[in-house]
Structure formats: structure tokens, C-alpha cells
Assembly symmetry: C2
Homo-oligomer: 399 residues x 2
Amino acid sequence: MSEYHTLTAAGAVDYARQYAGLADPQSLVDALEVGDGNLNLVFKILDRQGISRVIVKQALPYVRCVGESWPLTLDRARIEAETLLIHGRYCPRHTVRILHHDPALAVMIQEDLSDHAIWRCELLTGTYYPHAARQLGEYLAQVLFHTSDFYQPPQRKKADVARFTNPEMCQITEDLFFTEPYRIHERNTYPTALEPEVAALRADGQLNLAIAGLKHRFLSQAEALLHGDIHSGSVFVADGRLKAIDAEFGFYGPMGFDMGTAIGNLLLNYCGLPGLLALREAATGREQRLQDVRELWLAFSEGFLALAAEKTADATLATPGYARLFLHHVWHDTLGFCGTELIRRTIGFAHVADLDGISEEAMRLDCQRHALSLGKMLIMAAPHIGDVDALIARIRQNG
Amino acid sequence: MSEYHTLTAAGAVDYARQYAGLADPQSLVDALEVGDGNLNLVFKILDRQGISRVIVKQALPYVRCVGESWPLTLDRARIEAETLLIHGRYCPRHTVRILHHDPALAVMIQEDLSDHAIWRCELLTGTYYPHAARQLGEYLAQVLFHTSDFYQPPQRKKADVARFTNPEMCQITEDLFFTEPYRIHERNTYPTALEPEVAALRADGQLNLAIAGLKHRFLSQAEALLHGDIHSGSVFVADGRLKAIDAEFGFYGPMGFDMGTAIGNLLLNYCGLPGLLALREAATGREQRLQDVRELWLAFSEGFLALAAEKTADATLATPGYARLFLHHVWHDTLGFCGTELIRRTIGFAHVADLDGISEEAMRLDCQRHALSLGKMLIMAAPHIGDVDALIARIRQNG
């Protein structure tokens, strides 16, 4: 254990030499700061050939883009590392590998993924990864099943619920997803032209009732150890490969939250494509996104059912048919949480390039309006959308 | 802090002199062991006039009736005392007062309630306490509302979920309520004559699906700091007064579990009365029990709604109509958990005198069959029983 101090580039190199477990630690000679997030320092540690060999990631004690006025717990670094270690135990193929971590220094060393790209960036330019959605679904099936009451002994699961108590990071989600977009709030950001749509969301009593139910489930349902922030920007892809990263929002919550966030970001891309690509490429991309949504859900649900049939440890939850019944509940949660992601990424504090990256203003507004109306539809119609094919039909109807 | 050792009667007197905070500690001279439970030593501490002044309760490191072969965590004493202190903060009128507690010694000193009687004992002899059900409903409204996400700041609530992690005691409930009664298990106890009914429960696929859902909710829904064992045997009553005791099963769970346990024990009495009292008294008692069930639910739900309207701290959960919507979900959970209590108290490990105290065998079997069929009906029909009046109509139909 060390006292906390922020690493310099030289310090990050020294740290990686000492703890990365490489056979040739002295070959590490340089560090490149590549953090584009708000919360962390991220260094690529380079060897003499300039090749990145490992990543050193350190949590900062404040939100970087805002500055030291928004302090943020360093415990999130421990939670991130421990979440990824557990997820890596159950899905090593699709979880970034953690080589070392130190809670006091809020630092971890992870495998280098320089031959991968951030999925969101690829989606923005119309680069299609035909296996990615299925692989993300497989990742979520593995990690959510194995950390749930289906598989974990009850006493160990309760200990993990306590160990992954992540109050400060959860509060960010609670505020940004469920509270601020439906209120007048200084952190909301959207063009004045959208004020009628945003005011309508605030005034919609039925919508706000559904949002309250979703927030309450986020606050109280400890179903599995979630990634907690599994959008297309926290997924690395390469040809036939996929790795989840960035699990500092990990906690025990409702499975539908991870599924909804993942599907929501595919649908944000679906909404934004007409403003990002030429007509024909956009149309192709949109069909690929709907196919991605379908494969993501089917890979998750079929993977989960197969694991449940084979590995459910709890004798009662092993009752024939129960896993399928439970997945219906996860599906309806997924639709609701997906809707909140569409809305908060359009008018809340944290936006996505799938919408904000559209240069032409009228087109950007159209796409934003589409995301809002699709988000609202998903939240309100969730109880009536029976499966993923019905969802895709609804999305096509919605425009 | 002290090293754990079991208290002798003389040791309990010394302990009470030192820690009960009485103005006249030296007046305490004797101790009477009155524990009738399985898990604890309970001493009444008497003064020179033989009057009980305080209670000293100490957890044993094993289940008493079974012996040292079934070890049980002493941490339950800390959880019990801290649960009662929190419940006492929000409902001092109906929570036993804790004067002192020591986690290392697994001991607490609580107010003497010798002028009260255990509600179950009174129900067995047909003694009616017309305010008790309403008061129990008020207690549950206060403690469940104030420990829930409606009232607690999210970060403090999460800390309390971790603090009240109670894995060993929860496992007892998980096994005894949801697992063993629906399996062949050595701890189940019932007369051979009931084997057809018990076998039918085991074989009922739809029932077992519903049980799996209830167990899963018990395992994963951290809605409020439950009492965890609020049956008529853990409630003291006196003329116009009521106090909840015995909270060693306290943990963050689904509100419907406490409500279902409470209502379930009133219905166990309803089922047993024809075997316990003469015809006319039994009929009167049964009407009182149905009235009790009605008042318990209405006092809880109306109390909860009034508190929600006045004191909800979470801006999103304060959405008009949400508390009422949430109570519908608690109501359906309540019916299901109530059904599991009726079944497990009839054929599982821990029985109740409301049924087992019936001396005439054929009558006892009739009453046990009634409890089983009522329990099964409640679990299966829960989604279709809209309110407490519909419940009472169904109970009358059921016989």
C-alpha cells in the first residue's frame, strides 16, 4: 500500500516496470497520457520501439473536466479493478485483463488494447463489427449470471453486495439518469429549440411515474454485479474480438440496467446515423444497428438460459421455467432503462458523439428529437413489448 | 468491549447494575431465566421486591434446541440491537426500548415488558386486543417508510444495507420459507396423514415457479430495513399498547416480507381457532382475525402513503402517485410471502401453537389442511387479488 499521489509519466513507467509482471520490465521507457475521460489519468506505457505494452490507469480525486470543485471517491478504482477481476474470472475472453491494482494509490495496470478501437468511434464512421453485439451479449450473460443469486451461494453474494457498495458513483447515475433530465437543472444541456420537447417530458405525469419505478429499482434491486456503464464507449473491438473496460460504476444492481445501457447506445447511434453518414451508408448502418440490438439481446438471453440450465446452484431458482420467467422481468427493465439512456444522453449532462457530432444543426435537432421520442416510447410501452422482434418493429414504426 | 462468555444469572444481575442506567442499580438482586426461544439466553432482572426491572438478552453461539451442532453467528445480537435502535428512532411507541448493547458479548439490555403478553398467546385463548393490528400496521409503516429509498439519502441507505448484511440469519429464512417445504427434507415436520397434500405442493410446477420468484425477491430486493421475523410471537401487547421485540433477523429486504409474515400469523390463528376454542368463540375470533388483517394492511398502507406525501426526500420517488403504485407491488408481494408463511409453519421446521396446540387430531389435521390450501391459494392468486377486501372475500370462499 502506498499513500495517494497522482502519477507523473515517469512515475507511471516506474510503476509499470515494478508491477506489470513483464519478463522484460526494463524495456519500458516512456509513457503517453491518453485519458479522454473525465475521471482518470490513463497512460500507455511504451517500450524502446514505441510500442504500448500495458496501460496504467489512475483515478483522480475529482471530476477532471469540472476540476477540483467536484470531488469523487478514489474507492472507485478498487471497485473497478475488483469488478473487472470478477468479470474476467467468468468471461476472460471479453473482459480487459487486470495485471495489478493498488487501492491506496487508486491505480491499476491493465493489458494494452492498442490493436482495438473504441466501438463508439467505429460506429460513428460506419465501420461494422458483425460479431461485436453477440460478443457483448455473451459477456453480459456470463458476468450477470455468475454474479447473481442463480449461481452465487447466498452468503457470498451478500458479502459481495457489501464489498461492491459504490455510493458516490451510483449517485452520479441516480442523478444523471433519473432525476436531472426530468427537472430544470443546471447540468442539463440541450439546444433551446428542444425546450418544447424537454418541457413535455417534465410535464408528463405517466412518464415520470415510470421513471420513479426505474430509479427505485436501480436503488434497491441487487440482482447481479453490473458493469454499471456498459455503453459503446466502454467497449473495445477488433476483428472478431471484444473487450469491456472502465467498470468504475460497478455495483450490485438490476440486470436490465446493463442491458438497457448497452442497447440504448446502439439506438443512439441508430438515431444519429442519418446525420453522420451519407444517405445509403446511414440506411445500411441503421439496419446493422437493429440487427446488433437483436443479436445482443438474443446472445444475452440464450446465453443466460443455457447457463441457468447447466449451472444454477440455488435449488429453488432451478425450478424449471423460472430463469425464463425472470428474463421477462429483465427484458421489461431493459426497455425502460434503455429509454432513460436515450433521453439523458440527449438532454442531460453527458452527451454522445452519435448525436452531438452531427455538424448540420437542423439534422442534429431532428436526430435528437428522434432519440427523445424513441426513449419515451420505450419507457411507456415497455410492458407491451413482448420480445426483441416486437421491439424492432416498434423502432421502425417510430421512424 | 468484552470477550464473549455466556452470562450466569449472577453475571446478568451484575451486568444490568452496571449498564442498565437505572437510578438505583443496587436494588437489582436476582435474575430469572425466561428464554423460551431457541437462540438466546433471556433474563428478567429482579429487584428486592421481586419486580422485573429490565431484560438482559444474550445470543448463544448455537441453536439452543438443537445444541452446539448448529452454530449460529453472534453478530445477530449487534444486528438485533441496531435494528431495534433504528426502529425505535422512527416508532418509539411500538418498538422495545434498548438501554444498552455490547456486540462483543452479544448482549443487550432492554426495557421490561412484564405487564405485556405475547400476542400469539392471547390469540390462542381468544383474548382480543382491538388496537393491536392497527398499531402493528403503524409500526410497519413508520419503520419501513423511514428506512426506505423514499426517506433515506441514497448514500446512507447503501451504507445501512451493508451494515445490516445478515447472511446466516437470512439463510435460515431462505431455507425454511422457500426451499425445504417444497422438497423432501429432514427438517420438515408434519403428520403422515398430510403426505398427499405435501406431495402435491412439491409436484406443483406453477406453485414452485411462484416460490422461486418470492425467494429471488427475498434474496435481492433491498427495499427497507425489515424486522425480518414479525410474527405474533415477536409482538408484546397490553391494553391499548403494542411493542415489537426480537429483531435478530433484521436486514434490508422486500417490505412485503414483513407484511406477509405479520398477516400470515393472523391467518394461522384464523385457521387454528376452530380447534382451539368452542364453536361460538371460534367464530367470533375468526371474524376478529379478518378484521385484524384488514386493519393491519390499512394502517400500514394509509400510514405509508401519509408519510410518503409528507416526508419523501427523493425528488423522483416523490412523483405524485408513485407511492401508491409502489404499494400495489408491496401488496402482491405481501400475499405471496403470507402464503409461504402459512405453508412453512404447517409442514416445515418451525411450527406455531395456533395449529400444533390443537389437541384433537382430526380437527388439527383439518386446520392444517386449511392452512396449506389457504397458503397455496394466496401464492397462486396474488396477482388477481386487488385489495384487502378482495383478500378477505377470498379467505371466506376458501373456508
